[in-house]
């Protein structure tokens, strides 16, 4: 087994790891050795083809088919240089003040997160797209939301040179999205930080040694070979920053058998989501243009958020309830379809947690709360109102049975869309906002880390990803992950001398 030695090792290169990597450039420039280990590969620009199955298989864990333990929810997260920032849509919202107040983490305040977030909004070229770049799918959402009486807002997005491929969730084929793969990681590498891809951290030992497995590039697979020779490595370090995401960091720490608080893995939460489809009488522009330009935020009042979206043929087919002629008729109307994503708020609760199986791989124990289901039902009704407000002739709502609702029944939505139709395992529920498992808090009695991401009782071990969230964020999380990771980088820089010597 080959041995290597570094001062700081960062595990993961997404919103958290990429931010910490850039934040530690001053250490690298001072001659300290900083390493990023990323489980997935580094992709060449021309490998982003936009082909659905091909890209999903290359980018997402289990090809996008990772399921909760009871098989009723699909959890989407990516591997690769840039982590899940490769596959998000770049929607850039800052944490709501009420959410950070509810988190009640001693030493963490909203003003500090906002200040750090704003720095990254600037760095990532976050702005609102001009009206002429919006497609009908988005414009109809705005029109319908206003007609239905909802306050609708435009998403700021982090794109530069967006051509409107609509393929964000399959990795931008035009390199327009300012994920960490485009912004922070290249800066870090230019500043002397080393990034090694296809490198899975198997475990972390109490003597600060990491067991790392570098995998060979499979024949015919996308992505470049690793920067290191395939094989097993022992990497000695002084400081470890875990930033593998909510389904990466808790499993790694559980495998590592370190003396970590019992809260490890507990408090997993997400924003359970489903897709509604509205059919219009005439074709609209939907599969061209940025897919996600508007949202309606009813999280505080009704427990849901609605976002514009436009998915690909298989993802859309999977999202529709049922099968047969009715299902095919909707799919055959693709050029006339409008789509809305409903995200439900589900607060962290006991029992929803991340475990590992005998192979050390993540297992997500998750039960839908009454609150989450109620949010989905209300979100279904609101989305249907928006579709009909925009002129749709019929709507496919997973919480209706049968799911197709004609415009003539638009006045009966509260009766037709109802919780009695909820059957886990029948409706296609998914989530890409995975949170918790290493929650911040006051002490090991109630949490895994402090407000600076430092693991209680292990001063050399940090966490810098969404697993830090003590509860649901209620909005798209990447900016908040970056702000928290920025605090972690600051803490490491501040305490570096004491931890190394």
């Amino acid at each position: 087994m080959t041995s290597r030695s570094y001062d700081v090792v960062i595990v993961g290169s997404g919103a958290g790891g990429g931010t910490v990597a850039q934040g530690l450039v001053p250490l690298a420039q001072a001659g300290r050795r900083v390493l990023v280990l990323e489980q997935g590969p580094r992709f060449a620009d021309d490998e982003f083809t936009g082909r659905e199955l091909e890209m999903a298989g290359a980018l997402y864990h289990d090809g996008g088919g990772f399921l909760s333990a009871d098989g009723t929810m699909t959890l989407a997260f990516a591997h690769g240089y840039g982590g899940s920032t490769i596959v998000y849509t770049g929607t850039s919202l800052t944490a709501p003040e009420r959410v950070i107040a509810r988190w009640a983490v001693p030493g963490l305040d909203h003003a500090d997160l906002l200040r750090r977030s704003q720095r990254y909004l600037g760095e990532n070229n976050v702005h609102r797209l001009p009206a002429e770049e919006l497609n009908d799918n988005n414009r109809l959402f705005e029109t319908g939301a206003r007609a239905a009486g909802y306050a609708v807002e435009q998403f700021p997005v982090n794109v530069r040179g967006c051509r409107g491929s609509s393929l964000c969730n399959l990795g931008c084929p035009n390199q327009a999205k300012m994920g960490t793969n485009r912004a922070q990681l290249p800066t870090a590498e230019r500043g002397g930080v080393e990034v090694v891809t296809r490198a899975e951290v198997v475990r972390i030992a109490a003597d600060r040694t990491l067991t790392v497995r570098v995998r060979e590039r499979p024949a015919g697979a996308k992505g470049l070979p690793s920067e290191w020779q395939p094989g097993d490595y022992q990497v000695e370090t002084k400081i470890v920053v875990c930033a593998g995401g909510a389904l990466g960091t808790p499993p790694l720490l559980l495998r590592s058998a370190l003396p970590i608080a019992r809260a490890l893995g507990q408090g997993f939460t997400c924003h359970p989501a489903l897709i509604l489809v509205g059919e219009h009488a005439t074709p609209i522009t939907n599969d061209v243009g940025h897919p996600k330009s508007f949202f309606v935020d009813r999280a505080a009042e009704e427990g849901f958020v609605l976002e514009t979206c436009m998915y690909f043929p298989f993802t859309t087919a999977k999202a529709l309830t049922g099968f047969g002629a009715g299902h095919s008729a909707i799919m055959g109307a693709f050029p006339r379809l409008q789509q809305i994503l409903v995200l439900s708020v589900d607060h962290a609760r006991d029992g929803n947690r991340i475990e590992i199986d005998r192979a050390g791989q993540p297992v997500v124990q998750y039960r839908y709360s009454a609150e989450a289901v109620a949010g989905l039902v209300r979100g279904n009704r609101a989305a249907a109102r928006i579709f009909f407000g925009a002129g749709a002739v019929r709507v496919h709502a997973p919480f209706a049975d049968p799911p197709l609702i004609d415009a003539r029944d638009a006045g009966r939505l509260d009766a037709l869309i109802d919780e009695r139709h909820w059957k886990p395992g029948k409706q296609a529920i998914s989530s890409a906002h995975l949170m918790g498992g290493c929650r911040m808090g006051a002490s090991a009695a109630d949490s895994v880390t402090d407000a600076w991401g430092r693991v209680h009782g292990i001063p050399w071990l940090f966490v810098a990803d969404a697993s830090l969230f003590p509860d649901a964020l209620e909005i798209n999380p990447y900016v908040t992950i970056m702000a928290l990771a920025d605090r972690v980088a600051e803490g490491v820089r501040r305490d570096f001398a004491g931890l190394v010597d």
Partner: protein, 133 residues
Amino acid sequence: MLASVRSIVRAIGITVVPEATRLDDAEWSAIEETVAAALASRPAALQRQFLLFLRLVEWLPALRYGRRFTRLDPPRRAQFLTGLQDAPLLLVRRGMWGLRTLFLMGYYGRPAAAREIGYRADPRGWDARRAGA
């Protein structure tokens, strides 16, 4: 992997997507390859469960209709699968969801299916659309 259950997979497939009756052998093979590849990346236990569920789908209708699934007419096939989709047992609903998802992946994952439904996304985005692509 699917050779022993090919007739069951195809009978389920044309119930889930009726347009699949128009597929030729090469197109069916492409779908089956996609499904087999997706299964191959999953644990062996899950692959066994999938094959077992397929056989249950084939034989359970004999209790209700006196015929195997592959010998049922299309309305009864649809009725039977709807029953699985709405079954009281989560395990049964999950199995149906998995079957349906795998077939939809195979069918709608094909570029030909995307063209047929009018999906036209192009990496060149607005430029391609304005050029009539």
